[in-house]
C-alpha cells in the first residue's frame, strides 16, 4: 500500500501538468519500469533490501487485523444489499453522486498533500478542515525557485491528492463512474488556476504515469463557485507531457483525483472545497473534445 501510494504521488511529483505553461519538470532520463521508488536528484540510490524496511509493532498489528476483518465483513454483507454495498436501485438509477465530501475529520484521512519539497523546493502546503467541519481548506505558500541540484530546471507546485480506495487486506478498489459524464465541484478559491488530474487503472507499465487533466479556474471572492467539467474535456498526459494520441477517459476504474497548483506566482494560496461529486448531464452529448483521427499528420 505504501509503495502504491508512493507511485501515485510520484507521478504527481514529477509533473508539469500545464500544457500551455509548465513549471515543474524533472529532466531525468526516463527509465521504463525498473526504477520503482522515486529517487530525489542528488541522493544515492537506496539499495537496502525490502525485508529491512519492515517495522513490527504489536499494537498496529492488532489494529490492522481488526480493521481488515471489519472491512471484509462489510464487503461480504454488502453484497446482499447490492453492488459495492449500495442498493441496486441506487446503482442503476442514480444521476448524481457525491464522491468526496468533507463532513468530519475522518474525511481528511482520504487525502494527502504534497509539494515540491520532495524534489528540494520550498513550497509548503497544508490541509485542514474549515470551521464548522463542513469543508476542507488547502493552503500554503508557493515558491518557484528551483532546487540547486544541477538537473531540475523548474519548480513550484503543490498537490492535493486523494488516496486510492483500498478494500480489506489492502486490495485495490476502483471507482466506477460509467453512469456519469460530468464532474461537479463546489469550491472557493482565490483566483488562482488549478489543474484537476484523474488517474485511472492501467494495464501496461508504460501507462503508469498516465493522467487525465483539465484546468480548474477559480474566480476568487467570498462566494462559492460551482464548477462543472464534462469528462470529455479531460486530455491525456504522461509524466506531465501532453500526449499526441488522445482518447477519452475510461471511467470504469478511476483510482485517484488530484488538484495541482503550479502557476508560477510565488506567494500564499488557498482553496476551499465543499464537495466533489459526479453527475449525469443529459444535455451533454460530446464524446471527446480533441481530435481522434490523424494524430501526427504528415508535414
Amino acid at each position: 500500500m505504501y509503495t502504491e501510494l508512493k507511485f501515485t504521488s510520484a507521478c504527481f511529483r514529477q509533473h508539469e501538468i500545464f500544457a500551455v505553461s509548465t513549471s515543474a519538470v524533472r529532466r531525468s532520463s526516463y527509465r521504463t519500469s525498473f526504477h520503482g521508488e522515486y529517487r530525489r536528484a542528488g541522493q544515492p540510490r537506496d539499495n537496502s533490501p525490502p525485508w529491512k524496511k519492515i517495522r513490527f509493532s504489536f499494537a498496529k498489528g492488532v489494529e490492522g487485523v481488526q480493521k481488515h476483518f471489519w472491512l471484509l465483513k462489510e464487503e461480504i454483507l454488502g453484497r446482499w444489499v447490492g453492488p459495492q454495498g449500495r442498493p441496486l436501485k441506487e446503482h442503476m438509477l442514480e444521476q448524481t453522486r457525491v464522491q468526496w465530501d468533507f463532513r468530519g475529520p475522518d474525511s481528511l484521512k482520504q487525502w494527502i498533500v504534497s509539494s515540491d519539497q520532495e524534489i528540494g523546493g520550498r513550497s509548503e502546503v497544508y490541509l485542514k478542515l474549515s470551521r464548522n467541519n463542513s469543508t476542507c481548506l488547502v493552503y500554503g505558500t508557493l515558491c518557484s525557485t528551483p532546487p540547486r541540484d544541477g538537473e531540475t530546471r523548474y519548480s513550484g507546485y503543490c498537490t492535493l491528492c486523494s488516496k486510492r480506495l483500498l478494500g480489506s487486506f489492502d486490495r485495490k478498489k476502483h471507482i466506477d463512474w460509467t453512469s456519469f459524464n460530468t464532474l461537479h465541484l463546489r469550491i472557493r478559491g482565490d483566483g488562482r488556476p488549478w489543474m484537476i488530474n484523474i488517474a485511472t487503472e492501467t494495464y501496461f507499465s508504460h501507462q503508469k504515469n498516465d493522467m487525465y487533466n483539465y484546468f480548474l479556474y477559480t474566480r476568487g471572492g467570498p462566494y462559492w463557485q460551482d464548477v462543472k467539467i464534462p469528462f470529455s474535456k479531460f486530455f491525456l498526459s504522461s509524466r506531465g507531457r501532453i500526449q499526441d494520441n488522445q482518447h477519452p477517459i475510461w471511467l470504469d476504474k478511476v483510482n485517484t483525483i488530484a488538484f495541482t497548483l503550479a502557476d508560477k506566482a510565488d506567494g500564499p494560496f488557498q482553496l476551499e472545497i465543499d464537495f466533489i461529486g459526479v453527475c449525469n448531464d443529459r444535455a451533454h452529448t460530446e464524446d471527446f473534445a480533441y481530435e481522434l483521427y490523424k494524430r501526427n499528420p504528415e508535414v
Binding site: 500551455v20 505553461s21 442514480e94 485542514k128 464548522n132 493552503y139 462566494y223 508535414v299
Partner: protein
Amino acid sequence: MNCARRLARIAIRGFAPYARVTARESAKCLNPYGSGVQTLRAFHVGFGHLKDQPVSRGDEHPGHEGSLVTHDSLFEQAAVEAQTKAMFNRVLEVFVRKDIRRRGHVEFIYAALRKMPEFGVERDISVYNKLLDVFPKEVFVPRNFIQRMFNHYPRQQECAVQLLEQMENYGILPNVETKVLLVQIFGEKSHPMRKYQRLMYWFPKFMHANPYPVPRDLPQDPLDLARLSLTRVAADPDACVTVYQMPYTDVSETGADVSLPYIVGIQSLEQRSLLAKHDASRPVFVEGPFPLWLRKTCVHYYVLRAEPVPPEEKVQEPVDPERSFFYPLELNLDLERDLGDDDSFDVDEVEEGPIFAMCMASRGDQATLAKWIAGLQQTNPMLSRVPTLFRLESAPREIQRAGESEQVEPGLEDEPPHRQAMKQ
C-alpha cells in the same frame, strides 16, 4: 581530399563576404536552392575538414589569451549598458556577424534563453524569431533517409526544442515566421517542427478555457485595479462600484505626511435588500483581508457579512405571486421524484451568513474601514442601527465560516499549521 580542402579555404576566404550575403538573402527569399548557397554546401559535409584552419578572430579580446569567455559574458556586458530589447538584438547581431559558420551557436542560444528575462524580452515573438535566425540555415536539414532515421544533428534539434519550450512556458504562440525558419533550418520532419505543431494544436484549444479571464495588462491605477477585482468577485452584474475615498497624499502645515488611503466598495441590489431585511439586534462583522490573485498580483479585499440565522429563527416569507406574471414562482404539487429524475446532490448546504458588501482599501486598519461603513450607511440606513464588529487580521487568512465567536481573536483564529502530511 587535400585539393578539396584547399578549394574550401580559398572559397571561404575569397568568397566569405559574398557567401554570407547570399546565405542571408536566400534565407529571406524562400528558395532553398539559391545559387550562392549551392557553392557553400558543396564544400562542407560537416565541419570536420575546417578544424585545422583557424578562422581569423580579429574581434576577440586581445588581452585575454587563454581565458575562458562564455557567451553569458556578452550579455552581461550588454546588460551593463542597457537592458532593453534593442540591446538584446544588438548582441544577437554581433554574434551573427562575427562568424559565417556561427561557431558555438548552440551554447549562445542557451545563454540567450537564460538572459531573456533580464532584458525583458521573454514575451516577444519577434525576439524568439531573431534568436531562431541564429541557427545556420539548411545545414541541419537531413538529405536522405539514413539521416532522417538517425536524429540528424541532435544537439541543435534539442536546442531548438528548448527554445520552443521557453515560448510555451511564457504562453507565446509562434507565428508563421517561426514555422518558415524551422522548415529552413531543420526541415519538415524534425523534432522542433513536431514541437511547433503541438504548440499550434494545443494552444488555441486552451487559450479561451478560462471562464473568468484576467486581462494580461492589469491597470496600473490602484482604483481601476480595485474596480476590476471587485466586479470580478461580486459575481453579480447588478453590483455597483462606489469610490468612497480617493487616495490623497499631502504634506500638512506642520510638515507631517498626510496620506489618505483609497476606499472602493461594491454592493449589489440583492445585497442591499438583504441588509435592509437584516435583524437590527444581530451584529454585522467586517472581516478581512482576504487574498485575491489576478495572474501574478495579489490584492486584498474586506467583506461585510453577518452570522447565519439559526434555523429556528428563520422566517420564511411568503412569495409574492405578483413578482412574476409569466410563470408561478412556487408550485405545491404533490409529486415524488424518483432517483432517476433527481439532479440534486445528496449533501447538506453549507450554512453561511449573508454578505452585504465588499471593499478594497490600501490600508486595512479599523479607521479606514469605519469610513467605508460610514459611506455605506448613506445608501443603507439600516446599517447605522446595527452594531458593527471588526474582525481584522494582520495577515490574510481563510474566508470566515459560520458559527464564529463574536470576540476578535486574532491569535486563536488560525491553528498553527501542522507539518504537511507527506507521510500519512
